[in-house]
Amino acid sequence: MAVDTVLWSKWLTGLTLAFHAIFATVGVGVPLMIAIAEFIGIRKKDPHYTLMAKRWTRGFVISVAVGVVTGTAIALQLSLVWPNFMQLAGNVIALPLFMEVFAFFFEAIFLGIYMYTWDRFRNPYIHWLLTIPIVAGASMSAFFITTVNGFMNQPEGFTFENGHFTAVNPLQAMFNAATASKVFHVLSSAYLTGAALLAGIAAFTMLRKGVSAYYTKALKLMMVVVLLFGLLNTLAGDVSAKFLAEHQPEKLAAAEWHFETESGADLIFLGWLNAEQQIVGAIQIPKALSFLAFGDFNAEVTGLEEFPLDERPPLLVHYLFDFMAGIGFVILGVALLYFLFLFWKKRNELNKWMLRAIALTAPLAFLGVEMGWLYAEIGRQPWIVRGYMRVEEAATSSPSVRILFFVFLLLYVVLGMMCAIILRRLFRNKPADEELEKLMKEKRLHAIEMGESV
C-alpha cells in the first residue's frame, strides 16, 4: 500500500513536471528570440522583424499563462506530495526557491508593460529595453530552479546530524558542484528549443502556404540561433557528462550501461539487454565513453558494479540519454545542412525536404528536453536528495495521490488542448502578410496626420 502511494506520488510529480517543462522551456527560450527580432527590426528598420516580435509575443503570453499555472501547481505540489522532503531540504534550498519567485515576478511585471506599450515610446529602443528584464527574469528563474535540482543531485552546504541538516550555508547549497554544468545545459537547451520552435513554425507555414519574405526572414534568423545554441548545447552536454563521470558516476554508468569499471571504455548506443544482462544489438564506439567522460581515450570509467544494488538507477535511463543526445545531434545536423544549402548557390535552402526537416526539429527539440529532464530525474533514483533521503521516505502517506494523478491528467489534457486551439485561432485568420499590410497602412495614415498637424 505504502509503495503504491510512493509510485503514484512519482507519477503525479512527473506528470506535472513533464507538462510544465514544455511551457517553462518556451518561457525561457522565446523571450530571447523576441528581443533579438525586435532589435534587428529597429536596427534594419525592417517592419518584418518588428512584426515577428509582435506575433511571437502574442503567442508567447498564452503559453506563459499555462506556464504560470503549472508552475504554481508544481510549487504547491512540492509541499503537498513531498512533505517530508520539504521539511528536511526546505532548510537548505528555500533561498533559491524564494528568489525564483522574485525573478518570475520581475519578468511578469515587465512582460505586462511590454505587451501594452508597443506604441507608447517615441524612441523604439526604449520599448526594446523592456525585453532585457524579461529575458533576464526568465533566465534567472531557470537558474534558481536548476540550482535546486543541482542540490538534489549534489547536496552541499550543511552538516547532517540526527536526521537533520544543521550549520546550513545557503549560498554553498545553491552553488553546489552540479550547478554550473546543469545551468549551462538547461539554458542552452531552452534557447535552442525556443529557436527551433519558431524556425519550425516558419518552415511549417511555408510548406503549407508557400514561400514568403516574412517567413524566409524568420526562418533564417532562427536558424542562426539554432546553429549557435546547437553548438553551445553540445558543449554543455559534454561538460555535463564530464561532471557526472567525476561526481555522480552511477548516473553516467546507468545511462551508458557501463557495468564494469574499466579504462578505454566503449560508448554504447541503443541496443537492449538480454536475460543474462548482456548488451545485444548496440552500436559500440571503441573507447568513446572514456573520451566523453574524461577527454582521454584511455581513462578509467567507474562502472555500476561499484554501487550497491539498491543504489543503482534504473537501466531504462540508457534510452532516455541516447534519445536526448541523438536529438541534439540531429538538430545540429539539420541546422548545418540548412546553412550549407544557403551558401551553396546551386541548392535551394527552402526546398520541401529541408523545410520538412526543419519543421520536424521543433517537436524533436521538445522531446529532447523532456528526455533530458526524465534522465536527470530518473537517473538520480533511488534518491531524492542523493545520499541523504530516499524517494520513498519523502512522499506523502495519503493514498489520495492516485485519484489526484488522474484529476491532474485531465486538467493538463484540457489545458493543453485549449492552449493549442486558442493559438491556432489566434493566428489562423491573421496571416503575417495581411497583418503587415495593415500595419503599414496605419503607419502611413499616422504619418500623414502628423505631417498635417505640423
Binding site: 503570453v61 504554481t72 501547481a73 520539504m86 521539511q87 533561498l95 524564494f98 519567485v101 505587451m115 486558442i422
Partner: protein, 338 residues
C-alpha cells in the same frame, strides 16, 4: 534586534495581506464581469474591468506563490503538517487557480466573448477564496491531527464546524466588497458615470454582509479557540480602528464622493482586522503543533531569506511603481485613450 523568525512571519503576513487585496479585486472583477454579462449590463463595466485586469493578472498569482514559498522557507515544518493534511484541498485550489489563470488568458488574448470562459472565470473567482480560506480555519487547531508518523485532516470536524463555514462566507463577501469598492474608484477615475453607478451599487450592497460575516466569524472563533479570541480582544483598539475605517468607507460611498479615499479606507479596514487576527494568532502557525520559534528554519537561512527579500523588493518596488504609473494612474490609459 527583532529575531529573524519574527521578521519573517511579519513580512509573510504582509504579503498575504497584499494578496488578499489584489486577489480580491481580481476575483471579484471576474464575478462582476460574469454577472454583468448575465444581466446584460456588460457594456457598462466589462471594458473597464478588462482594461484594469489585462496588465496585472499574472502579478496577482505571484503574491500567493510568494507567500507559500516564503512560509515553507522560513518554517519548513509547515510543509510537513499543512502539506500532508492539505493534499486534497490544496490540489483543488491548484486546479481552480489553473482554470482561472489560463481561461482568463484564453478569453482575453484568444477568443473574445465566450460566455463559458467567462463563467469559469467568474465562478472560480469565488471558489478560490473559499478553498484557500480553509487554511486559515485549519490553523486554529483541532482539524489537523498528528499521530506518530502520519498527519491527517479531520474532514468530519471541518465540514461540521460553523467556524469553517463562516470563514468561507466571510472570504467570499469580502472579495465582492473589496472588489466593488475598487472598481467604483477605478470607474470614477475613468470618469465613466454609468459604470460608476453600477459599481457603487455593488459596493454598497456587499458592505453589510461583510461586517455581519466578520462579527459572526469572530463569535464562532471565541467558541473554537479561546486563546486566540482573548488575544484579539486585547487588541480591541485595532478592531475598533477597523470598524471606524469601515464606517468611513460606507459614508463616502453612500455620499458618492472621494472614491479613492473610500477604497483606501476599505484597505485599512482589512489591514487592521487582518493584523489583529494575525497578531492574536501569535505564537502559533498551526495550533498547537507549529509555533514561530519551534518551526523556524536555521538562522543562516533565515538571514539569507530576509536579505534576498530586501534585495528583491529593491527590484520590485520600482517596477510596480512603473506599472502603476503606466496603467493604473495614467488617466489616459484608464479612460481607454491609449
Amino acid at each position: 534586534m527583532i529575531s529573524y523568525e519574527l521578521i519573517g512571519i511579519s513580512v509573510l503576513w504582509l504579503f498575504l495581506y497584499g494578496y488578499l487585496i489584489v486577489a480580491s479585486i481580481d476575483f471579484g472583477s471576474g464575478f462582476f464581469a460574469f454577472y454583468a454579462r448575465l444581466t446584460k449590463q456588460d457594456h457598462l463595466i466589462n471594458r473597464l474591468i478588462s482594461r484594469y485586469l489585462s496588465p496585472v493578472w499574472e502579478i496577482t498569482n505571484v503574491f500567493l506563490v510568494f507567500f507559500f514559498v516564503g512560509i515553507v522557507g522560513f518554517f519548513p515544518d509547515t510543509a510537513y503538517y499543512y502539506g500532508s493534511a492539505l493534499l486534497v484541498p490544496g490540489s483543488i485550489a491548484i486546479i481552480l487557480l489553473a482554470i482561472r489563470g489560463s481561461f482568463y488568458a484564453f478569453e482575453n488574448y484568444g477568443s473574445k466573448d465566450n460566455i463559458v470562459y467567462l463563467f469559469l472565470y467568474g465562478a472560480s473567482g469565488l471558489l478560490i477564496p473559499a478553498s484557500l480560506s480553509v487554511a486559515l480555519t485549519l490553523s486554529e487547531g483541532g482539524f489537523i491531527i498528528a499521530n506518530g508518523e502520519s498527519v491527517n485532516l479531520d474532514y468530519m470536524a471541518l465540514f461540521t464546524s460553523p467556524l469553517s463555514w463562516m470563514i468561507v462566507i466571510l472570504a467570499i463577501v469580502s472579495v465582492l466588497f473589496i472588489s466593488g469598492t475598487f472598481l467604483a474608484f477605478y470607474a470614477s477615475r475613468a470618469e465613466d458615470a454609468p459604470a460608476l453607478r453600477l459599481m457603487r451599487k455593488f459596493a454598497l450592497f456587499w458592505s453589510t454582509p461583510t461586517i455581519i460575516a466578520a462579527l459572526t466569524a469572530f463569535i464562532y472563533l471565541s467558541q473554537h479557540n479561546e486563546r486566540h479570541y482573548q488575544n484579539m480582544m486585547d487588541l480591541w483598539w485595532l478592531l475598533a480602528l477597523s470598524v471606524s475605517f469601515f464606517m468611513l468607507a460606507m459614508w463616502l460611498l453612500y455620499k458618492g464622493r472621494r472614491y479613492g479615499l473610500a477604497f483606501i479606507s476599505v484597505m485599512l479596514q482589512f489591514f487592521c482586522a487582518f493584523f489583529a487576527y494575525g497578531i492574536g494568532h501569535y505564537p502559533y502557525i498551526l495550533d498547537p503543533y507549529i509555533s514561530i520559534q519551534s518551526g523556524a528554519t536555521h538562522e543562516s537561512m533565515g538571514v539569507a531569506l530576509v536579505a534576498a527579500f530586501i534585495g528583491g523588493l529593491c527590484l520590485l518596488i520600482p517596477s510596480i511603481i512603473l506599472v502603476f504609473k503606466l496603467f493604473l494612474f495614467n488617466v489616459d490609459y484608464v479612460k481607454g485613450k491609449k
